[in-house]
């Protein structure tokens, strides 16, 4: 697969020319903290890949964008949205994890701002191995027109444990987690307002999706929910939710899924049988049809080793 290296200027010109930005409506959820809520849906030409929550935090000297969205169109719109609010430069693009709906919007943001891309220490290798697959998937879901020239940008700076980024009197605390939703989950806490960008360690409305480890995810519940935040921005769902109350539904689903799958394994069911037998979750989750049986598969192949 030919990869391209572009100079900064050429890339910027390309993006500005190629991507007429659709208007995104940032909501100020706390002073200087903005969220563009994504559609709780699969990526489609209608939503242009804007299906994950996108955030940005404005300091005295700089802006950090947290998850630049799922397509170049969305990333370009994010640049416009930031410009509509502040002249401060976007200095950082922070990935909460590798999934395409969170990272594929990075290229136009980087091209327009020269921002440094920051992610979990394990993100680069995970995203590099999946890049082709994600780009093909985006092309399938969004159509050729929306994804012509779509690119993946790998992090410049890696976080192995914790890190602080200062936006000018505005420290952001970054924390890398062990394998849970994925093997490269990272949370961002805006210390000044107590706003936690939880990425997909927190699903609301959208059924949680396991692409890491169900036991790992359940194991970090206590530590995650004790983070001192007043509100959280989930990876999917409303712009903000109460913290940690909003995490209860997700961990309830994961715990009951683990219980049901363990019961299937204990009675000797095979994978195909368990996928049929584990009941869909109670509650008002969206996208159960798409993700529940896949979660059963992921949980089964992990838990059968216990």
């Amino acid at each position: 697969m030919p990869a391209t290296d572009r100079t900064f200027a050429a890339a910027a010109a390309f993006w500005l020319f190629a991507w007429p930005a659709a208007a995104l409506d940032p909501k100020e959820v706390a002073p200087g903290v903005y969220v563009i809520a994504g559609a709780v849906a699969l990526a489609s030409p209608e939503n242009e890949g804007a299906i994950a929550n996108i955030g940005f935090v404005v300091g005295r000297k700089a802006v950090a964008a947290i998850d630049p969205g799922g397509s170049a169109t969305v990333g370009a719109s994010l640049v416009e949205a930031v410009r509509s609010i502040t002249d401060q430069p976007i200095r950082y693009v922070i990935y909460t994890h590798m999934h395409p709906d969170h990272v594929l919007g990075a290229a136009p943001v980087v091209a327009a701002s020269g921002a440094e891309v920051v992610g979990h220490a394990k993100l680069a290798s995970a995203l590099a191995a999946r890049a082709e697959h994600y780009l093909a998937g985006a092309r399938d879901a969004l159509g050729d027109e929306a994804t012509d020239g779509l690119e993946v940008v790998l992090p410049d700076r890696e976080v192995a444990a914790i890190a602080t980024l200062d936006l000018g009197d505005r420290p952001l605390s970054l924390r890398a987690w062990p394998t849970a939703h994925t093997d490269n989950d990272l949370t961002v806490l805006d210390e000044r307002t107590g706003t936690l960008f939880a990425g997909d360690l927190l699903f609301t409305e959208h059924l949680p999706v396991i692409d890491g480890s169900i036991t790992g995810w359940l194991a970090l519940e206590a530590e995650l929910t004790s983070l001192p935040a007043a509100r959280a921005v989930p990876g999917h769902g409303p712009a903000t939710v109460d913290w940690p109350a909003a995490a209860a539904a997700q961990f309830g689903y994961l715990a009951s899924l683990a219980d049901s799958v363990r019961a299937q394994i204990a009675k000797g069911a095979g994978l195909a049988e368990a996928v049929e037998a584990v009941p869909p979750p109670a509650g008002n989750w969206a996208l159960v049809e798409t993700f529940h049986r896949r979660n059963v598969t992921a949980a089964f192949t992990e838990l059968e080793w216990e």
Partner: protein, 261 residues
Amino acid sequence: MLRTHMAVAAGLLVATAGLAQAESDAWSDIVADVFDGRAMQQSDIVTLETPYRAEDAATVPVTMHFAPPEDAGLRVERVTLVIDENPAPIAAVFELGADAGVSRIDTRVRVQSYTNVHLVAELSDGSLHMTETFVKASGGCSAPMGKDPEAAMANLGLMKLRQFDGANPEAQLMIRHPNNSGLQMDQLTRHYIPAHFIHSLTIAQGDAPILKMEGGISLSEDPSVRFEFEPNGEPIAVEAQDTEGNVFSENWPIEVGRSGT
């Protein structure tokens, strides 16, 4: 400053037009190349269960049943599982032990695109018996090799045997292995991640073979083979080899089918 960018190449995706034609072409090529064009009969000696729509294209469960041929002098010697549209269509070839009474095998495969799946049994008289299903799934082979590659490599070759007692005793052999397909490009290095998979697996009870498998890249990560068999009371011995020359072996006492005849 150089950044790593990756572009969608034109024509990355396989066109879906003319799929039906492509499928029959794929199968007739396989019949010619793998089975020397020999005649096959559709028969109920073999049955195949696959989900119509796979939830996870990298982990698609497959169940194969083998009924004893009407002529009691014959038996199923070998079965070949074929995923027509995969880059390496022969997922696995199983040789069934003469006295092991293997009547069913479950495994998990990667499925690259919408595809027919064929199961071909060769009887001891050389006749071929075939059945087929259709699976809707895509991207299984180029999909990520694993959710946690660090953990996967740390446990490389770890095996587990589960035994299930009942009217038809069963066992499930699981091996920790990334079973890398060699189809995933690492965009950091811009090289394909080398194929690294279990290519041979022998399961025996004492000296009597239960089954021998030759596997390819279409088998899922952490290969799993579950089988119905007739235990002879001897310990179960497993040896697996991967493409890097690693040999993994282990023995377990038999826990099923003791009470019976």
